[in-house]
Symmetry: C2
Subunit: 343 residues, 2 copies
DNA sequence: TTGAAAGCGCTAACAG
DNA sequence: CTGTTAGCGCTTTCAA
């Protein structure tokens, strides 16, 4: 059986006061006699009254709805899940709630979700922008919706952005491999239309170029979505007539796919490996996996900090915050090539 | 610069029609001359109009807000993240959005989040109930908010519930170890006030009892929160004068903690291990980890299905859906005890 | 310290 | 097919 929700009117009647008095009590405003307030409180409890924020919001124009949206690539991905948790924690501190959405890296889905968020009048959005123009978000910004991008900048949009030093991280990973004697290094990466992926590839190329190594196209695979594709690509690269002595994988999923293919599959001999992104149990594998780690919680917390500053009236120029990555040497990246001697 | 949001009034004026015509066009209702509709559409586009769902909701009483809440223990936990993704996907199909919250297994925090959800008039809530009475949710149910519990049932609440066969899963894990010759089996588990944890422990005891083995209290550790605590407890149990030949860990975090302690720490010799919960790369460890796997995506999808059925008017008696677990033998659970011969 | 009146943006119900 | 009226539950403003 569904009861009617009590309104302020109902509470007012029950407490024998006016609607306004109830409003004041509900919102903790001063200027209500303690005695009256107590009576109202009692009525509220008795009727199970709860403020209708939709109605409230309607009248208090310009005031925040205390709701933000978080739009990530895929909330099931531990990286984004950790980021989400950090955002949620920050939101709680400000008494905000968080609407969540996964875009699957599809601009169309992203627009749909943003639209659904906007219809609910979110005060701000933290998003992982998909590839493609985000000009459509300008309209939201002009309506006062604050936007913060994470993981990658949005094309055609002026907004606060939190990213990591992807290029430098990849560069360091490759230099690390080269210091251990590698020259033939394979690259396994996600879709090139993702900015962070491009940056990582650029770092890869840059590091090789520093020792005048030209990357061999046969050892480079772009556009890998998910573990299975990455595993297949790894096999293809490693069974090349002149195989690489080391691999660089451009994100956690690709790294895991590479591990899948090297693990137990006969005919594939393990090579040195450095992966971008930290993942659980990387230290427990055999060999333990050397990674370039980002800190998703720090990224989320930073993004939330920027967002709430904006919501609270910060109108300074958009900022780009670049967080550092950290190379964690664990073993897989320190394997020497079969012939470590210069020829 | 922040523009004023256009209202239906503004659109009506711009298109030279009445407000009602705009409303009809916005909501795709029939009975508007195509020509008129086109004029309105143009005005909408030109003014960047977007419906205010708060106002809409206010007027359309009894109709859904198309928002549901998802309250999990910790969204950063891959198990819940995967579950969340399944819920989100189902929500999208129904054109709903999802508010998210983490309770950290605290009833107080849970109440706060539920209250925040309720103020925003969610149509339903999927929650992982913390320990403690959930009688307070009755009020929400009476107001028409549909509630579905996942992972464990809520105390003092009649609601749809989706759980797995925790007891049977644990029972099978222990019988599996016993079939491989183990009699002294250690138990490492999370807080006992969590229903699923109690069930798993019950399965542990039951399996031992079947061969008249009385669990040794010295090998049992309850209340482990997180990896670090689990690792410490593992060390304590394994350094017992008469150590166990096998361990059962009652969830993924505890399993990882146990692995931490057995990995490389000198003085600790690895023993057989079966863990509850699947985790990434369990198959790549040395030895690969035998687990009792649940399917978080299936749990989330099932919960969402139940919830949307309720939202769409299903008023049948509350259901409890029990999903099956699956023992995945990978190696760590098939290690024989040092002396495999019966004495 | 309390209350009455107006109206936020929208839709239900009815009228033309 | 289109428009008018009333009012959802709340806060703002002003008056008592």
């Amino acid at each position: 059986m569904v009861l009617k929700r009590a309104t302020m009117r109902d509470v007012a009647k029950a407490a024998g006061v006016s609607l306004m008095t109830v409003s004041r009590v509900v919102n903790g405003e001063p200027g209500v006699q303690p005695e009256t307030a107590a009576r109202v409180e009692r009525a509220i409890r008795r009727l199970g009254y709860q403020r209708n924020d939709a109605a409230r919001q309607l009248r208090r124009k310009g005031k925040p709805t205390q709701t933000i949206g978080l739009l990530v690539d895929d909330i099931a991905n531990p990286f984004f899940a950790t980021l989400a948790r950090a955002v949620e924690d920050a939101a709680r501190v400000h008494s905000f709630v968080v609407l969540i959405g996964s875009s699957n890296d599809s601009l169309e889905r992203e627009r749909e979700v943003i639209s659904a968020f906007s219809a609910r009048r979110v005060d701000g959005v933290i998003l992982v922008p998909s590839a493609g123009s985000h000009r459509f978000l300008r309209a939201q910004q002009e309506l006062g919706v604050k936007v913060v991008c994470v993981d990658r900048p949005a094309d055609h949009l002026d907004a606060d952005t939190v990213v990591v030093d992807n290029r430098r991280g990849a560069y360091q990973a490759i230099r690390h491999l080269m210091q251990h004697g590698h020259r033939r290094i394979g690259y396994l990466g996600d879709r090139e239309d993702i900015w962070a992926v491009r940056e990582r590839f650029a770092g890869f190329v840059e590091a090789l170029a520093e020792d005048e190594v030209t990357p061999d196209q046969a050892l480079i695979r772009h556009g890998l979505r998910g573990r299975a594709e990455a595993a297949d690509a790894t096999v293809a690269v490693l069974t090349h007539p002149d195989p690489p002595t080391a691999l660089f994988t451009s994100n956690d999923l690709v790294t895991m796919g590479a591990l899948d293919s090297m693990h137990g599959r006969s005919g594939i001999s393990p090579v040195a490996l450095v992966g971008f992104d930290e993942f659980a149990l990387a230290d427990k594998l055999n060999p333990p996996v050397t990674v370039v780690a980002q800190d998703p919680a720090a990224i989320g917390a930073t993004a939330a900090q920027l967002l709430f500053a904006r919501i609270n009236g910060d109108t300074s120029a958009p900022r780009e915050v670049v967080l550092l990555t950290r190379l964690i040497a664990r073993g897989s990246g320190e394997i020497a090539p079969p012939s470590a001697l210069p020829r």
